[in-house]
């Protein structure tokens, strides 16, 4: 048993195949490897190694529909959100980073509390997670980046286990931005993350004491779970409606598409046993 751990660490740290992706990222970074949103290309090597291990060995992810991700130019990738910690974003980002049709180093719009979480906030930030502020998203779309946004926010990621695979309320910010900046929306359904970290309650007084947004009552164990990612076809919305009611209808259209992809994933998982 004692020999197993070093082997895992060794596998993560000594994986030579990561280099080929690092060398082709087109991201513009400064002299110390950082861009204005905290993405750090110098950290990518170790971050991607860990993400690769999570993707291939821990979650054994299967991805369908990678051909729908544009090789270049702005786009908004819109998945469901689950699993307490934003590892769903890490897995989806890794799928885009290693897309054989054209790798993209995406930015991910993260919950606003992310910077206040020690270690994880910084780590995810250096991989491309950015707080979900419309100003950030606008600037990055203008920079022709691929952006992953979770319209459910913490409502999705920190929902209780009993509510798994029930899409929570979607914010409409992503739709405003997609319309304004003429960016395609790519719906994504992720199946498998709900089972990894299970929350049975949110202990609000503890969250307040620790200065954190949530304090979920969880089983302190990350359950291994096979993950399926279904990427849908791009949807384009013209910038021709302005009433919030009409925009919400369009948000619902995207939600329905994601729900269909989720159901596809759940069926696939059932079939695989």
């Amino acid at each position: 048993m004692a020999a197993k751990k070093p082997n895992v660490v060794k596998k993560i740290l000594e994986d030579p195949s990561i280099e080929e992706y690092i060398n082709i990222f087109p991201n513009k970074v400064g002299s110390k490897g950082y861009d204005a949103w905290g993405f750090n290309i110098k950290n990518m090597k170790s971050n991607m190694r860990l993400a690769k291990w999570l993707f291939n060995d821990f979650y054994k992810v299967e991805v369908f529909g990678l051909e729908h991700i544009p090789k270049e130019g702005r786009c908004l990738v819109i998945p469901n959100h689950s699993g307490q910690l934003p590892f769903d974003g890490v897995l989806l980002a890794y799928a885009l980073l290693t897309n054989p049709n054209g790798p993209r180093a995406p930015k991910a719009m993260a919950e606003r509390f992310l910077p206040s979480v020690p270690f994880i906030g910084n780590w995810l930030n250096s991989m491309g997670a950015v707080i979900g502020d419309p100003v950030n998203c606008e600037r990055m779309l203008e920079n022709e980046e691929a952006i992953i946004a979770f319209p459910e926010g913490v409502r999705g990621s920190n929902k209780l286990y009993k509510n798994r695979y029930q899409l929570q309320r979607f914010g409409s910010g992503f739709m405003h931005l997609a319309m304004k900046h003429n960016a395609p929306i790519i719906p994504v359904g992720i199946v498998g993350m709900e089972e990894t970290i299970r929350s049975y309650a949110d202990i609000k007084p503890l969250a307040k004491f620790l200065g954190l947004p949530v304090a979920p009552l969880i089983i302190p164990f990350v359950f291994p779970s096979k993950v399926y990612i279904y990427i849908g076809k791009p949807i384009y919305f013209a910038n021709d409606v302005h009433k919030e009611h009409d925009i919400k209808e369009r948000v619902e259209q995207v939600k329905v598409e994601i729900d269909k992809l989720l159901k596809k994933g759940l069926v696939k998982r059932e079939e695989a046993g």
């Binding site: 400064g30 606003r112 020690p118």
Partner: protein, 310 residues
């Protein structure tokens, strides 16, 4: 012989003011003043210790016809108590603007700081000049910095003839600079918050001096961020400067605050704790475009300097 135009430089005891004076003394007759001390700047610079709020301050305006004012003098939160600081920084600046108006000084440059935006987990990156100033929401110790800005903006629009330019630089670093983050870079051991490494921007004192001189001479009134488009995580910066990070517990927040108060380090003041956690990245593109300015010194130049001190 053509007599030189006269300018007033405040905060003469500071390293930045000394550089600005050195850079401009060829072209201008310089009257240097400081709230704290009389500084010997050598001939031909006239230097005075003066309190802006005393009547004698007006005598300087009576005796000289100023072409412009470069207002760099600010009492930092480390120096005096909140009340004295407010009087010197805010009330004193109002007195300065009123005298500039009375004696028809045609241009004034005010040095502010990026601290005025406030360090918050909700800050987007690349804050532009229209972003609300939230620092006073975080701590009473930065109220005077925000009020100084508000006052400058009121005078900027109410009295356009003063042609006020406000500069909000990122962290100024390099020889002689003694602000909080510069002290951290120059120390052998520097406190950092466990699990936090906010993205930061640094501008070399030489570049900041150049930015002030260019903005003063071109005088296009308005508010401008001054920062390079290059970034580094705080803990990486500490290591790059050759310092050893000392990890301070970061949760719960009240423990961090208690440690900061107990340690009472000048370089780890409790009112700046949020700046050790969250990034305040400013967009310097308006200044760069308006004044055709690009910093010459790189981050590596800055860290090389601090490494050479170790």
């Amino acid at each position: 012989m053509e007599s030189k135009r006269t300018i007033l430089v405040t905060g003469a005891a500071g390293a930045l003011a000394k550089r600005v004076i050195d850079r401009l003394k060829k072209d201008y007759k310089i009257i240097a003043i400081d709230f704290r001390t009389k500084v010997d700047l050598g001939i031909p610079v006239e230097s005075y210790k003066v309190d802006f709020n005393k009547r004698i301050f007006e005598d300087i305006f009576r005796e000289h016809q100023f072409e412009g004012i470069i207002h760099l003098g600010r009492i930092s939160a480390q120096e005096l108590n909140r009340f004295t600081r407010y009087n010197a920084n805010v009330i004193g600046t109002r007195k300065l603007f009123d005298l500039a108006k009375k004696y028809k000084v045609p241009k004034t440059l005010v040095l502010s700081t990026y601290f005025v935006y406030g360090a918050s987990p909700y800050n987007p990156s690349l804050l532009d000049e229209t972003t609300p100033l939230k620092a006073s929401e975080l701590t009473m110790d930065l109220v005077d910095s925000v009020e100084l800005e508000n006052l400058s903006t009121i005078y900027l629009y109410k009295h356009p003839e003063l042609n006020i330019t406000v500069l909000r630089p990122c962290n100024i670093a390099g020889p002689g600079v003694r602000n909080t983050f510069s002290q951290l870079l120059s120390s052998k051991r520097s406190p950092v918050l466990w699990g936090f490494s906010p993205l930061m921007q640094f501008i070399h004192i030489d570049d900041m001096c150049e930015a002030i001189c260019v903005a003063f001479e071109k005088n296009i009134r308005g508010v401008y961020n001054v920062a390079p488009d290059d970034y580094i995580g705080f803990q990486d910066a500490i290591k790059a400067a050759g310092a050893k990070p000392i990890q301070i517990p970061s949760i719960p927040p009240m423990l961090t605050e208690a440690i900061a108060k107990l340690l009472n380090w000048k370089s780890f003041p409790p009112y700046l704790i949020n700046y050790f956690k969250y990034p305040v990245i400013i967009d310097g593109s308006l200044f760069a475009k308006t004044f055709n300015f690009r910093p010459k010194k790189t981050l590596e130049d800055i860290f090389n300097y601090y490494r050479s001190l170790k």
